[in-house]
Symmetry: C2
Subunit: 140 residues, 2 copies
């Protein structure tokens, strides 16, 4: 059995975050030692690794909650899991295109800065006037 610190080290999920996941019901309540400290077995380790990996891929905690409950019912159709993943992919895609537009605006802005006074600064000027932008853009 692992202490919360060891579990944290193995999964690279911080200790308070693990407790938080338990608090919001994403992890089941852990067993306790005689001294009331949390103890984790292999199943908890796998579940937390799953969560961490899904977080790394940008899934929200509610999506992860759904994915976990799906993975607990192995005989069901995986259509729902597929849909969640596709939604996440679409989300990532739209962020990507917005970030690309953003990047080119920022590049234009920075490239035009001649290093003079604020009064002549293209950075400040462009920020003040959206009409100077090449295309629409919105962060994240």
């Amino acid at each position: 059995m692992l202490s919360i610190g060891k579990l944290s080290a193995r999964t690279r999920v911080k200790v308070p975050t693990i407790r938080y996941y338990e608090q919001i019901g994403l992890l089941p309540e852990a067993e306790r030692s005689q001294g009331n400290q949390r103890l984790y077995g292999t199943k908890a380790l796998e579940r937390l690794a799953f969560i961490r990996h899904a977080r790394d891929l940008g899934f929200g905690l509610e999506a992860i909650r759904d994915l976990l409950s799906l993975s607990d019912r192995p005989d069901q159709s995986c259509a729902e899991a597929d849909a969640i993943a596709r939604a996440q992919l679409a989300e990532v895609d739209s962020r990507l295109s917005r970030l690309l537009a953003l990047k080119s605006e920022l590049q234009r802005m920075v490239a035009q800065c001649a290093g003079g006074r604020i009064a002549d600064c293209r950075v400040i000027e462009v920020l003040g006037d959206h009409a100077q932008c090449a295309a629409d853009h919105t962060a994240i």
Copy 2:
């Protein structure tokens, strides 16, 4: 003079957000009508448009606060504004590369889903096992 609603319509910044910006000192306290309603002139409109545009480009409120105070001192060197913009560009760049890695993982995951049972679902399986990923990835 514009009411907060009209200002909101012109800048596409929501009314409560405008009040929030005032509260945190990003906008100066607005003048008031006899009936205690906020009134805005051209300067406030420009300042808010600047904020909105910078937010669209992904700048954080603290960076915007800095940019605004720079723009109030037009005789200073614009090196600082340039640095803020470059930092933002670097940030966008690193998000972009992470999102790209993410996207290809998600695509692989989704492409492998055969639409069968959860027990055979690649989505669930890949999430449970980071070793199946092609590369490192971390969201946002």
